[in-house]
């Protein structure tokens, strides 16, 4: 019985999980997809029971038929010879995805945490719609490339609105990295909406009467899933809007979550067929939990370190247990 871990080489979260798996006596094979095809090798043969064969990296090898779980964390992209032309690269990328991916996806009775195709479904607008459908509270949200729609939305909300990224939360410019935190729009910024038309933008009702943020880490996708909830208290104005803006100011507290929120989160996990999720909520002063997003490969070590919540152990146990 073995666990395949697909992750980049520099990922302390993965390292902690691997140590926990080793402590449990599990055979672990870790690889980055960026190693394929040069130093990660696939040898898969279609037999009567499906794809059978091995993955090999260096002097380490794993048998596909022995896999119980795959921890798909944050691998980098396939890396090919620099001698390939652009057309060859495009071809090679697709072949690698379909070949390696296809063989791995087909393995029966293997638990994926989480399957990349399921994670690819989780675009933010899709998440928010699913959250509403399962009964979670979601702030009013607009996705548009029309400045007029933003003004209409602002009038209808009747209070502060924010703009936030749909995808990557940073950009590299002028030789340095700049973050894209959730930003509360001023009247002046609403008066000049030039640039909205350049691409899709996400605007959202700002929950101003916020008591605290909440990070809910869920391990396991079934009714016996484990939920680890930590209130995140902001110690600065910047962190109050987006806690990522000022990590040093944050304090954490283990909390319980209401039964209806737990039920909604489980339904959300079932909807996307995921076994792990890091949910961000905003909790207002009346105790309402507003869903902001779920990251299916989110960070959780900082919460575990601050609170002692045994998330790594739970994740290792899930990977050892495998598919139900």
């Amino acid at each position: 019985m073995s666990v395949l871990v697909l992750s980049e080489e520099c990922d302390p979260t993965t390292d902690a999980v691997i140590e926990a798996l080793v402590e449990r006596g599990v055979e672990v094979f870790r690889a980055d997809l960026g190693w394929f095809p040069t130093s990660l090798h696939l040898d898969a043969d279609l037999g009567s029971s499906g794809w059978a064969g091995t993955l090999r990296a260096g002097n380490r090898e794993i048998t596909l038929g022995d896999l119980r779980s795959v921890f798909y964390r944050r691998p980098t992209a396939f890396t090919f010879s620099p001698d390939l032309s652009n057309q060859e690269l495009r071809h090679a990328r697709m072949e690698a995805k379909l070949g390696l991916g296809g063989c791995l996806w087909s393995l029966p009775e293997v638990l994926w945490v989480n399957h990349p195709a399921r994670q690819a479904d989780m675009y933010k607008p899709t998440q928010l719609a699913a959250g509403k459908a399962v009964g979670l509270l979601v702030p009013r949200t607009l996705v548009t490339n029309r400045p007029g729609a933003v003004l209409r939305f602002a009038r209808e909300v009747g209070g502060p609105i924010v703009v936030k990224p749909l995808g990557y939360a940073s950009i590299h410019e002028e030789g340095r990295r700049r973050a894209l935190y959730t930003h509360v729009l001023t009247d002046d910024e609403l008066a000049d909406l030039r640039g909205v038309e350049t691409t899709a933008h996400l605007f959202q009702q700002y929950i101003g009467d916020k008591a605290h943020g909440l990070r809910l880490t869920v391990v396991g996708g079934g009714e016996d899933s484990q939920m680890f909830a930590a209130a995140i208290h902001a110690g600065s104005a910047a962190a109050a809007v987006d806690f990522r803006a000022d990590y040093p100011s944050l304090t954490y507290r283990v909390v319980d979550i209401p039964d209806d929120v737990a039920a909604g989160v489980r339904a959300f996990m079932r909807h996307f067929s995921i076994s792990f999720g890091c949910f961000d909520f905003c909790v207002d002063t009346t105790g309402r939990h507003w869903l902001l997003e779920c990251n299916s490969a989110g960070q959780f070590q900082f919460v575990e370190q601050a609170t002692g919540l045994p998330i790594t152990a739970a994740l290792a146990d899930l990977l050892v247990k495998g598919a139900p």
Binding site: C10, D11, P12, T13, D15, A16, I18, E19, V28, F29, R30, G34, G58, R60, P75, T76, A77, F78, T79, K97, G101, P116, A117, Q119, M122, Y123, V163, P165, Y168, A169, S170, I171, H172, E173, E174, G175, R176, R177, R178, A179, L180, Y181, E189, L193, R194, G195, V196, T198, H201, R244, A245, D246, Y247, N295, S296, G298, Q299, F300, Q301, F302
Partner: protein
């Protein structure tokens, strides 16, 4: 190097600010193929020496530069492009 005009035109990008975590320098590490984890210069598990370990590190860069920090990752069906 001047700022690309294209970057300035997207509305959201007006609000880009210096990252609070990504600028932090990380302790040196190397990947230990035998133990399948990153280790520090003494061969000890690298993750254990990190304070607030996952705030200031990890996450593939979307543009080929260094570690981005924070929650930088978006789902993809096996990333097409080299980060």
């Amino acid at each position: 190097m001047g700022v690309s005009r294209g970057v300035q035109e997207v509305y959201l990008l007006r609000f880009a600010v210096e990252s609070s975590a990504a600028a932090a320098s990380l302790p040196p590490w190397r990947y230990d193929f035998g133990r399948q984890i990153a280790v520090d210069t003494d061969g000890q598990p690298w993750y254990r020496q990190l304070v607030d370990m996952t705030m200031g590190t990890t996450g593939p860069s979307p543009d080929g530069t260094g570690s981005t920090g924070n929650e930088e990752w978006t789902p993809d069906y096996m990333p097409d492009e080299r980060a």
